[in-house]
């Protein structure tokens, strides 16, 4: 035990929040008799300037080594008082914050006497903690002033632009041949009738030509090593197959024998193995070979001298301080036969229908047939009801109600004589989208509520398509709606990223999207230091929400790496090599790969903690059979002494 620590204890009234229940005078009287406590005081508001000044003066005058403040939860003012003791010349970690408001006075207003004893126990534990406290230093690591962004949709591009403007080097890696993601494929989006690609284009205009941005398309992250501030990233870039633009791209495309669904219109049509820039202003503006489907028949190379089919994959190595993951979503693809999807050409998904609308002139047509009646079925692929062990999307995709409402209003403005039926389970047009809902109602959209246990049925016979639904609001009256087109209002699914997930090891939530550290307090941070998530890879989001979260992620990443160095809390694990008996259980227990076996001078091989990788969870502390691992700032001795002190009456 450290001899003769000089500890000051300060008990806060919190204006009465504490002192109305806890007998603060009694607490001070009891605590001042504890050994090592040289001063104990109570005060109306300890966090006030006057309160903090009192502590600072005491530290100096009474030559205190350490301070306990007993007040609100440490979540509120622990940092405040660490600051106060630092100003007085103490190490910030020679401080203990005893919680006697949230965990005492507020919880035990019915039992003041026992509440007072509990406050004393909490403070005693604090005093015991400080008897064994040692000054600690924050861990400082250098940080590369550059950021990797994975995914070049609206979220990734927005993050890239923000980070670039803040003066950081930005590397953006996009798996597809063109940036723009799902947003670029959309038609007019709420609220300004701008098309998706126009939204992308307005970001690209600012982004392209900035000299601190590198964009890699056809590229995938192959490995990530290192840690916060110092990630080493390997990126593989597939060749485009094109050296430049083709003069007659139409002819080149026509000679390709391959036919696969065109992802740029959500499979509404087919494309060949040459992917032309799919929309105006697409970046890069050069076509790309689709290597997955190309059979290298070389017919295209015969008609265009810009094609080179034998270029090799390139590898680049990057050093970045932080990583923003913005891999977006995948539109839900209905199962074969789900509401006759795939078996009837008159059943489309919402994104496909949007593309159909985009391509229509003055008349809305599917093939040669004019469309007069459209039935929309809501919640396809979202809020699925589980049956058996099958994995279902139980979440709401949030954007689909808004998207279908927006699209309905737009097409009613554009085409005459349309009749729209919306078969819904519930409608979630939150925020300003309510206006769109209202407008859809005014324009004559017919809304029919169905029960999730009695979903609508799509019946196809010959040229007729009928949707049968039971209307929940008219006592389940059965309705049959003859329709020209059935549109499944599909939701969002996580982008399949198996390889990337293995590399990054980002936590994944129960819905399959990346999980933030805390939904409210750390909404774009992840448990992996230096890795942030932006946009719909975190969960369904509309464009506005994606942009919001990507700007937030950019700001968080920049805050970390802009200074070029990073300070980390010193609460990391430390191995006592003399006690380590090399059980290696800590190595297996550590989820961050922070523990290695190293050779120690004179002791041989023992466990060693990389303090930059260590998050201080303490799992290794419990796993060690010899008690050879401690967390700095919360050592085993401190914990044991705190238990003894609190248990003593």
């Amino acid at each position: 035990m450290s001899p003769n620590r000089r500890i000051g204890v300060y008990v806060c009234w919190c204006g009465g929040n504490i002192s109305d229940v806890v007998d603060v005078k009694k607490v001070v009287e009891v605590i001042s008799k504890e050994s090592d406590v040289v001063v104990a005081k109570d005060f109306m508001f300890m966090c006030s300037d006057a309160g903090q000044r009192m502590i600072e003066e005491d530290v100096k005058e009474k030559k205190l080594d350490a301070v306990v403040v007993a007040s609100c939860s440490p979540k509120l003012h622990e940092l405040t008082f660490r600051g106060a003791v630092t100003r007085a010349g103490l190490n910030p970690y020679m401080y203990y914050h005893a919680n006697i408001r949230e965990q005492v006075s507020w919880a035990h207003g019915n039992d003041p006497a026992e509440a007072t004893r509990k406050a004393i126990r909490h403070i005693r534990a604090g005093v015991a903690y400080l008897r064994h406290a040692e000054p600690l230093k924050k861990i400082e690591v250098k940080a590369a002033r550059s950021v990797l962004i994975i995914g070049g949709g609206v979220a990734g591009l927005r993050s890239a632009l923000d980070l670039s403007r803040m003066g950081l080097n930005v590397y953006l890696v996009e798996r597809e041949p063109f940036v723009g993601g799902n947003t670029a494929k959309l038609w007019e989006v709420y609220p300004y009738k701008r098309k998706g690609w126009e939204v992308i284009d307005s970001i690209l205009k600012d982004l392209l030509g900035r000299d601190n941005v590198a964009i890699y398309t056809n590229a995938e992250v192959r490995s990530v090593s290192g840690y916060l501030g110092n990630f080493e990233v390997k990126v593989e870039i597939k060749p485009r197959g094109f050296r430049g633009r083709c003069e007659d791209l139409e002819r080149v495309v026509s000679v390709c024998p391959i036919k696969v669904p065109n992802e740029y219109d959500f499979g509404l049509t087919n494309r060949c193995a040459i992917i032309a820039p799919p929309y105006p202003g697409a970046y890069p503006e050069i076509p790309s070979i689709d290597w997955k489907n190309c059979v290298k028949c070389r017919k295209c190379a015969e008609v265009c001298d810009q094609i080179e089919l034998d270029d090799e994959v390139q590898t680049v190595r990057l050093k970045v301080g932080a990583i923003v993951v913005a891999t977006g979503f995948r539109p839900y693809e209905p199962r074969q036969g789900e509401y006759k999807y795939g078996s009837s050409e008159r059943v489309l998904t919402l994104p496909q229908f949007m593309k159909l609308v985009e391509r229509s002139g003055g008349e809305l047509k599917l093939g040669n047939r004019t469309i007069r009646t459209v039935v929309f079925i809501y919640c396809v692929g979202s809020r699925q009801v589980p049956s058996g062990d099958e994995k279902v999307n139980s979440y709401c995709s949030r954007y689909c109600c808004n998207a279908v409402m927006n699209l309905s209003v737009r097409i009613l403005d554009r085409f005459n004589g349309l009749k729209l039926y919306h078969l819904f389970r519930d409608i979630r047009t939150y925020g300003k989208h309510e206006l769109m809902y209202e407008e859809a109602c005014k324009k004559g959209v017919i809304f029919i509520k169905y029960d999730e246990n009695q979903p609508p049925e799509v019946l196809v016979s010959g040229k007729r398509t009928i949707v049968r639904v039971r209307d929940l609001l008219t006592e389940r009256e059965e309705l049959e709606i003859p329709s020209d087109l059935v549109v499944l209002v599909t939701g969002m699914e996580p982008t399949p990223n198996e390889k990337l997930n293995e590399i990054l090891k980002l936590p994944i939530g129960k819905d399959g999207f990346y999980q933030e550290m805390h939904p409210k307090l750390k909404p774009v941070e992840t448990t992996l230091a230096g890795m942030f998530i932006a946009g719909a890879c975190q969960g369904p989001k509309d464009i506005r929400e994606s942009v919001l979260s990507s700007s937030a992620a950019a700001a968080k990443a920049a805050t970390l790496v802009l200074p070029g160095r990073i300070e980390l809390e010193p609460f990391t694990a430390l191995v006592d090599p003399e006690r380590c008996n090399l059980s290696k259980r800590c190595v297996d227990e550590c989820p961050y790969g922070a523990i290695q076996i190293r050779r120690y001078e004179g002791l041989g091989e023992k466990a060693w903690v990389n303090e930059v990788l260590c998050k201080g969870c303490g799992a290794c502390v419990a796993a060690c059979p010899n008690g050879a691992i401690n967390i700095r700032g919360l050592t085993n001795v401190q914990i044991e002494e705190m238990i003894r002190a609190a248990g003593r009456e």
């Binding site: 949230e102 919880a107 129960k510 989820p591 998050k615 969870c617 303490g618 799992a619 914990i639 609190a646």
Partner: protein, 120 residues
């Protein structure tokens, strides 16, 4: 970390639970060495309740499973020491689990009262 916020939340909502509790904060419940639980039971406490973070834990998503293993080990130690296993309890307490926490405390208090003090 998360459960600590949940316990704060109980106070924030002025939910009463027995004041004969003492609360100790750990970064993650999986840090608990089983012998600390026994130490507490031998040093004035009649029961030890471990509030695990559940899947919200910022450190370890599986911290509850890991903590459960520590509890298993603590129960084995308790058996050797002749301490009743009912004195050791664990539950996941989320950041807004104020009410479940208060309920756990009421029930645990009642059970410990029936059990009487630890034979030392």
């Amino acid at each position: 970390m998360i459960s600590y916020v949940g316990i704060d939340f109980a106070g924030l909502q002025h939910m009463h639970y027995p004041a004969t509790t003492s609360i100790m904060r750990l970064p993650c419940s999986s840090m608990i060495r089983p012998e600390w639980i026994i130490l507490a039971l031998k040093n004035g406490f009649d029961g030890v309740f471990v509030a695990a973070d559940g899947t919200d834990c910022p450190y370890l998503r599986d911290c509850t499973d890991r903590t459960a293993k520590r509890i298993d080990d603590a129960l084995k130690l308790a058996e050797k020491e002749g301490i009743e296993p009912q004195r050791i309890k664990m539950a996941a307490i989320c950041s807004v689990c104020g009410e479940p926490f208060a309920n756990h405390m009421h029930n645990f208090y009642r059970e410990l009262k029936e059990l009487g003090p630890v034979k030392r």
